[in-house]
């Protein structure tokens, strides 16, 4: 197994600031906007984005939730391993809100399809956007594209893109793992 560094901590930091600024450009005061981190890996990115918006751009009262998509996935009883559920934590209504889904890697698009179904349990949003750190090009199974993308990556199906976060893996880095 070999791994190649795609993004360093410094590069990730620059990208996160850019993504935060792009969000401000479209959502200004975040009055009707809610951020939703897609479980399990999107929550780290969502926390970071919220932190940057609050501390460095003085945006206050940002609503952030976590959405688990396990029970909405389309591969129940199809995989070798049982699906592992995570916590959903959404303590606000999404009815008429501008929702921004946040996930670390956009690959086949199936997770986001599941998230689109799952979020309907909490109301009918005005619109839904997608922010993703890594967009794996040419690997989509569904017509889903990000509105905000950190970095576009060309990887073949046998390769994996792994995003590490300081709070979980001890470092900020993105690797391309093959073999």
């Amino acid at each position: 197994m070999s791994q190649k560094l795609l993004l360093s901590a410094k590069e990730i930091d620059i990208i996160l600031h850019r993504l935060a600024c792009q969000l401000i450009e479209n959502h200004t005061h975040f009055k009707d906007t809610v951020l939703i981190g897609v479980q399990p890996r999107g929550t780290f990115l969502a926390d970071r984005i919220k932190q940057i918006l609050e501390k460095e751009y003085q945006v206050t009262d940002i609503k952030l939730g976590y959405l688990d998509i396990t029970f909405y996935r389309d591969d129940f009883r199809r995989g070798e391993k049982p699906l592992e559920a995570n916590k959903t934590h959404i303590d606000f209504v999404v009815e008429d809100k501008r929702v921004v889904f946040i996930d670390d890697v956009l690959y086949t698009g199936r997770s986001i399809r599941a998230a689109l179904t799952a979020v309907q349990s909490f109301g009918r949003p005005q619109e839904i956007e997608l922010l993703t750190l890594i967009d794996r090009r040419f690997s989509r199974h569904l017509p889903i594209q990000p509105n905000y993308r950190g970095r576009q990556v060309d990887a073949i199906n046998q390769e994996k893109v792994k995003v590490h976060w300081t709070e979980n893996e001890g470092e900020d880095a993105v690797y391309l793992v093959s073999g």
Partner: protein, 309 residues
């Protein structure tokens, strides 16, 4: 996430401690789901479940049906009173006929102990026992433990007394298996005539003085006196039973701590429990009912994930 060690839920005695924890962790997620504005997930949309009730039930049948529907399964209901069982059809024939309509899972309540085990050996579907005679009622015991865990943080190390008709109670037996498996201390309390001989072999103690039992415990699970299962008199009168084994406010106030009161329902108000206790904050009877749906969703979901496509 690991998976259940069993393909059917026939009784708590076939489960291990890991299974119980897995069911509770999954039920936590479903409890969150059923408190959403839209209380439904699409996981089981390609699964068909038959609810076979050969014995009366309100709560359990509704709870299972709701759990199945919240998971988006297709559901068919069957009750013995209005079926061909009355015409002499055997259990296996009845079930195989239903399964030939492409049913994946069977939830069954039956008056004969072991009916679920018997069925699991003869038909090709996942079976959940919703009560078999005086044998086991596993989902009730799971939701009872889940409710204790919710109120007290954990089940292990807690002291639980099961009060009442232990002899005829499948809830008592399943609870004894579930609680001891999780490391709780269990006592049973009731008239000697309603406590089976050798019950100590299951790792529980017998106490015939209700006040002593209540003073000892953290949780009291009050069982219903099952008149329909009693062919002879096991105690002189209902009044005498209530005096010796009924819980009332005065008795609870005389204890030096606040214990948790549970009841699997249906309640005989004024017999095993008075209304002021049943409706008090100490009682978690309605929490048990709500948790029943989440726990049954978890059991159905986990067993369904093992059904081959």
């Amino acid at each position: 996430m690991s998976e259940l060690s069993v393909d059917h839920l026939l009784g708590i005695k076939y489960l291990n401690e890991k299974d119980i924890h897995l069911i509770f962790e999954t039920a936590d997620h479903f409890k969150e789901v059923i408190n959403r504005p839209i209380k439904k997930v699409p996981s089981l949309r390609d699964i068909t479940i038959a609810n076979l009730f050969f014995e009366n039930s309100t709560r359990t049948r509704l709870s299972f049906e709701l759990a199945e529907k919240r998971l988006s399964a297709d559901v068919i209901n069957f009750s013995a009173a209005s079926s061909s069982v009355k015409k002499g059809e055997t259990l296996i024939d009845t079930v195989n006929n239903i399964l030939s309509m492409k049913v994946d899972m069977v939830i069954m309540r039956h008056p004969n102990p072991g009916a679920g085990v018997f069925l699991s050996k003869h038909v090709d579907a996942s079976i959940i026992n919703a009560g078999d005679g005086a044998h086991e009622h596993p989902t009730q015991a799971l939701l009872d433990s889940f409710s204790i865990r919710e109120r007290l943080g954990e089940v292990g190390g807690k002291k639980i007394v099961i009060v009442g008709d232990i002899l005829h109670s499948r809830v008592a037996l399943s609870n004894i298996f579930a609680l001891t498996l999780q490391g709780a201390e269990v006592k049973v309390c009731g008239p000697k005539t309603l406590i089976p001989k050798y019950i100590e072999k299951l790792g529980v103690q017998v106490e015939t003085d209700l006040k002593k039992a209540l003073a000892w415990c953290d949780v009291a699970n009050m069982l219903r006196v099952q008149n329909e299962r009693m062919e002879i008199s096991y105690f002189p009168s209902t009044r005498e039973y209530t005096q010796q084994f009924g819980v009332n406010k005065k008795l609870l106030d005389s204890l030096d701590k606040e214990i948790v009161i549970m009841h699997p329902g249906p309640i005989n108000r004024g017999v095993e429990i008075t209304s002021d206790v049943a409706d008090s904050n100490q009682a978690i009877i309605l929490d048990q009912v709500q948790n029943g749906v989440a726990v049954r969703m978890a059991v159905i979901y986990l067993l369904a994930s093992k059904i081959k496509r």
